[in-house]
Amino acid sequence: MTALAEVEGIEVFYGASQALFGMDLTIQPGEAVALMGRNGMGKSTTIRALCRMQPVAKGSVRFDGRDITALPSFQAARLGIGLVPEGRRCFATLTVTENLIAAARPGQWTLETVRAFFPRLAERSAQQASTLSGGEQQMLAIGRALMTNPRLLILDEATEGLAPVIRAEIWAAIARLKAQGQSILIVDKTVKELKPIADRCVVLERGRAVWTGATTAITPEIEQRYLGI
């Protein structure tokens, strides 16, 4: 079985400062992988490199067996990478529906199915995204990524700043997606909530993967050492 996405020994820079020092990551089809690590260790940067939003100085990025290291981000997205970015980044002046259809591509996820999945979005369909509450914006960002019918869904801090109830709702939604066979790459602070969903964990420190293994294999030591819990 070929891996769906494969990041191999990449180095990434912001201007002169290096953020990734030979990062590795593999995601198999149908798998949910969690990226973990302290603040500023390079989780989001890895995701940006995978989505081709950040140039890679060294190493390679492959998707579905194809080398995409030098591809522009819109082409990478068309291969099937769907991103829910850190900080939501909904299109503020667009309505909910417009946000959803802006980048939609045909497939299983349509306006109807997304609305059925997040009924709240159906209620707010004509509202401008900037006036949504934080949780609604988060749902919108997920729905928007689903509408591109991605083969790999990437969620970067999907629950930051959300009220506990909403957070529970989002986690439930992610669990349902996974059950449907969606491949997922996920970053989140709350390890407690992440554990039941992720099959495998990759822990980052200083821009490289320092621990990889099944979620069940995470020991309190590892948590203490790399996550400070």
Binding site: L132, L162, I166
Partner: protein
């Protein structure tokens, strides 16, 4: 009976048809941490906006240290001793961490119409700024422009700037958001020490932190306070569980 440092009475604010805050009354007593929780979009940040003066309330009054401040500007309120942190970090991006704090110190001293003396050579200002940075754990990062700080460090710097103002009360809007577990732990300890210096109105979605810190809790839903009380009371309030906490707790 001590007087409250800050008290809000019947504050209301509408955006079009939406009532963001609806007849909110609330007090902040000396030495306490009063946590304000509630669902996303309940009106918490709007309330902070009204207290700090960025948003003009449609109705109601705000009393601070016994004085009605409802008509004052943001800067005037800050000078009276209202210190705030922003939900989304709001710093001077090209200024170093040190200089961000120095600006706060300069503002506290109230001398911004001085044209001659170079501010960066002011030893007293520098030393004091560095002392405050050390207090929040940013001693080693004093010279880094705030734009180049990591997300968590920026949250700490927000606090440092608020400290520089030596305010009579703190308004903290989700100070823990985006911080890792480690950072949250440190901040909880820090705030616990801070409340003796000045009371804190705290907005936060991290329930572990809130329950660890708060002396009193108010729950805002759809712009209205639906419950107010101690941690235990709020935790077990069925309406609050339904609207905010969910069943996971």
């Amino acid at each position: 009976m001590v007087d409250p440092v800050l008290s809000l009475s019947h504050l209301s604010k509408s955006f079009g048809a939406l009532k963001a805050t609806d007849d909110v009354s609330l007090t902040l007593m000396p030495g306490e941490i009063h946590a304000l929780i509630g669902p996303n979009g309940a009106g918490k940040s709007t309330l902070i906006g009204q207290i700090s003066g960025r948003i003009a309330p449609d109705a109601g009054t705000i009393t601070f240290k016994g004085r009605d401040i409802t008509g004052l500007s943001v800067a005037q309120r800050a000078r009276l001793g209202l210190g705030r942190s922003f939900q989304i970090s709001s710093l001077i991006p090209e200024y170093s961490a040190r200089r961000n704090v120095m600006l706060g110190l300069q503002a506290r001293q109230g001398h911004s119409f001085r044209f001659l003396k170079p501010v960066m050579h002011d030893r007293r200002l520098r030393d004091e700024a560095e002392a405050i940075l050390a207090k929040v754990g940013l001693a080693g990062r004093a010279s880094v422009p705030s734009a180049e700080l990591s997300h968590g460090e920026r949250r700490l710097l927000e606090i440092a700037v608020a400290l520089a103002l030596e305010p009579a009360c703190f308004l903290l809007d989700e100070p823990m958001a985006g911080m890792g577990a480690e950072g949250v732990g440190a901040l909880v300890d820090f705030l616990r020490g801070l409340k003796a210096q000045a009371p804190i109105l705290l907005i936060e979605h991290d329930m572990d932190a809130v329950f660890a810190l708060a002396d009193r809790l108010s729950v805002l839903v759809y712009g209205r306070i639906i419950a107010s009380g101690s941690v235990e009371e709020i935790r077990n309030d069925p309406a609050v569980r339904e609207a905010y906490l969910g069943d996971s707790e």
